[in-house]
């Protein structure tokens, strides 16, 4: 597969004046002292503890950490699938969730799920236009036209009438990203979206996501356990501790954009990678020991 870049025109990109497009105004996430406890009265499992994180609008923020450390739980809280036990989350300075309030899931913060959630019984086009049609923002016919246009702008040509089961895995994931972008969300939430792919497809899709990001400047909240992916994609890498999860280290990735694979062999990248590995390895070891203790 080629690794060429797609020149996309997406909502948020300003082709005439690229400088303007790098100053988005929406999508600032503010997590303050958030804690999430499963079954507080009973088993009392602390998934997330006093997590505080500021994600400015338009930043690509990547969360890494050992498995079962609460990263997905935090994402679910932002998306509205889970309640916070303590603390607050603000989106654009408006309260999104707190101990008393959970905003229901919505198109302003769309999730791209781990194993893909394109509806298998709808064609790719129907999947992509699902959001606007179902929210009543567009009539079916105009949505179809807009959907076709978006798909071609995003480099996905010829699959609009296929079913997800007929196209390749990489194609499916791209279509799912297109479905998310169709709704012009404020925040894009991705929960280990490339985990189930082979390494070759993954490299292509990573580049694709970067192109989408460069063109649209959405705020991205990306969870992964692949450290190289984290540094390659992110502006900021947040290292999470083992359960109960909290922020252990913040690493700014100052590699300039747009990035491509030459980045991977740069000195700066190697230094950052060492830094992240050191931080994560510590936590991974603690997680394994805790698991062994539980079984003993």
């Amino acid at each position: 597969m080629n690794t060429v870049s797609y020149a996309m025109e997406l909502p948020g990109a300003n082709v005439a004046n690229p400088a303007l497009s790098s100053r988005p105004s929406v999508g600032k996430l503010s997590i303050r002292d958030a804690s999430i406890i499963y079954d507080p009265e009973g088993v009392h499992v602390v998934a997330v503890e006093n997590c505080s994180l500021e994600i400015p609008a338009g930043e690509f923020c990547v969360i890494v950490g050992p498995p079962e450390c609460g990263k997905t739980t935090l994402l679910n809280a932002i998306a509205g699938f889970r309640d916070l036990t303590f603390g607050e989350i603000y989106l654009d300075d408006q309260l999104l969730c707190s101990a008393d309030k959970t905003t229901p899931p919505g198109a302003d913060r769309i999730v791209v799920f781990r194993d893909g959630a394109l509806f298998p019984w709808d064609t790719v086009l129907d999947n992509v236009i699902y959001g606007p049609v179902v929210q009543g923002k567009m009539k079916k016919k105009e949505a179809r036209e807009a959907g076709e246009e978006l798909l071609s702008r995003m480099g996905l040509v010829g699959i609009s009438r296929s079913y997800p089961g007929e196209i390749s895995c990489g194609m499916r994931r791209r279509a799912e990203i297109a479905r998310a972008m169709m709704n012009d969300p404020k925040v894009l939430l991705l929960d280990e979206p490339f985990r189930a792919m082979d390494a070759l497809t993954r490299t292509v899709i990573q580049k694709y996501l970067l192109d989408v990001y460069d063109a649209s400047n959405k705020t991205v909240f990306f969870i992964t356990h692949d450290l190289e992916e984290a540094i390659f994609l992110g502006t900021k890498v947040v290292v999470y501790t083992a359960r109960p999860g909290k922020v252990k280290k913040l690493i700014q990735v100052d590699i300039p954009r747009p990035r491509d694979f030459r980045v991977l062999s740069s000195e700066r990248y190697q230094d950052l990678k060492e830094e992240v590995i050191e931080a994560v390895r510590d936590e991974a070891r603690k997680a394994i020991e805790a698991d062994e203790r539980k079984r003993a």
Binding site: S5, G106, P120, V134, G165
Partner: protein, 293 residues
């Protein structure tokens, strides 16, 4: 930075269907070169031959009371049948129509009531809490144990036979539909909510299509049950119909008619399930195409 649009090679609608046709055609031709159809023919023919030899040729004791294929064929295809039933007599078709009509009625009622009920039970947990235990209790009673009560409840034979047939189909349909809803991966529900669907939209655009595969499996099973119960009902309490025919031909010792009725039943059962499968395939295009990959 280079810009290139990469187009995915995709086949147009017409191309897809013609390719699959070509595959099927070459598949059929290919199949004839393998041993599969020949082995099948060997199996079926040897069963037929065994039947003939045991019942008519060697007249093995016990087997010789049963009609052999020759006797059955002679009756079935003659213009002047000895026991009054062949493909040329109108009574044959009357019995077939009567039975088929009863099955259709019962099956349609069972589907019309069972599918919405199962969908709703899967969708609303409170509703399921109230209704599921009752369903499970009633299901424990074998459907055919209802026959005497059904005859009491519905004066006249027709109603009772249809009711018993309906029961069998109903439980199978409801439970399979419920299972279908429960089997839908939660991820799809979450994605739908993210994309801003209301509850009603989730029900019609996610739950309904998602449960469809299970629903159609359930419909095939319930069709099988329908025939099962129908025959019992007709044998016990019916007039006209293939079950009734089987029973009376036993009593009047019209043995070839017995076999004719059995074979006809088998054929009807197979055709009806195949029809449901076909409808399912039409409605669930996405599965068909995925499997063609």
């Amino acid at each position: 930075m280079q810009t290139k649009t990469i187009d995915v090679k995709a086949m147009a609608e017409e191309e897809i269907s013609s390719v699959s046709q070509a595959v099927l055609r070459s598949g059929a031709k290919h199949a004839l070169t393998t041993s599969t159809p020949y082995l099948a023919a060997v199996g079926l023919l040897s069963t037929l031959a065994g039947w003939y030899l045991l019942c008519e040729f060697f007249k093995v004791p016990y087997f010789n009371e049963l009609p052999g294929p020759v006797a059955v064929a002679r009756e079935w295809f003659s213009r002047n049948p000895k026991f009054g039933l062949s493909i040329y007599t109108p009574e044959y078709y009357q019995h077939i129509c009567r039975s088929t009509w009863r099955v259709i009625q019962a099956f349609l009622w069972a589907t019309a009531l069972g599918v919405p009920l199962g969908l709703f039970m899967g969708w609303e947990k409170t509703f399921k809490d109230y209704t599921f235990p009752v369903l499970e209790l009633l299901r424990r009673i074998p459907m055919l144990a209802w026959v005497p009560l059904a005859v009491l409840m519905f004066p006249g034979r027709e109603g009772s036979v249809i009711y018993v047939t309906f029961l069998g189909a109903f439980f199978a349909t409801t439970l399979n539909t419920l299972l279908g809803v429960q089997s839908i991966d939660e991820v799809y529900l979450r994605a739908a909510r993210c994309l801003g669907s209301s509850s009603r939209q989730v029900f019609f655009r996610i739950i309904l299509p998602g449960a469809l595969p299970f629903i159609f499996t359930g419909l095939q099973i319930s069709m099988g049950y329908s025939w099962f119960c129908l025959i019992a009902g007709e044998m016990i309490a019916g007039e006209y119909g293939l079950g009734y025919l089987i029973w009376t031909s036993y009593i009047t010792v019209a043995a070839p008619v017995l076999v004719i009725a059995m074979v006809t039943l088998g054929f009807l059962g197979w055709v009806s399930t195949a029809a449901i499968r076909l409808i399912g395939r039409c409605l669930m295009q996405w599965q068909v195409r995925e499997m063609a990959q």
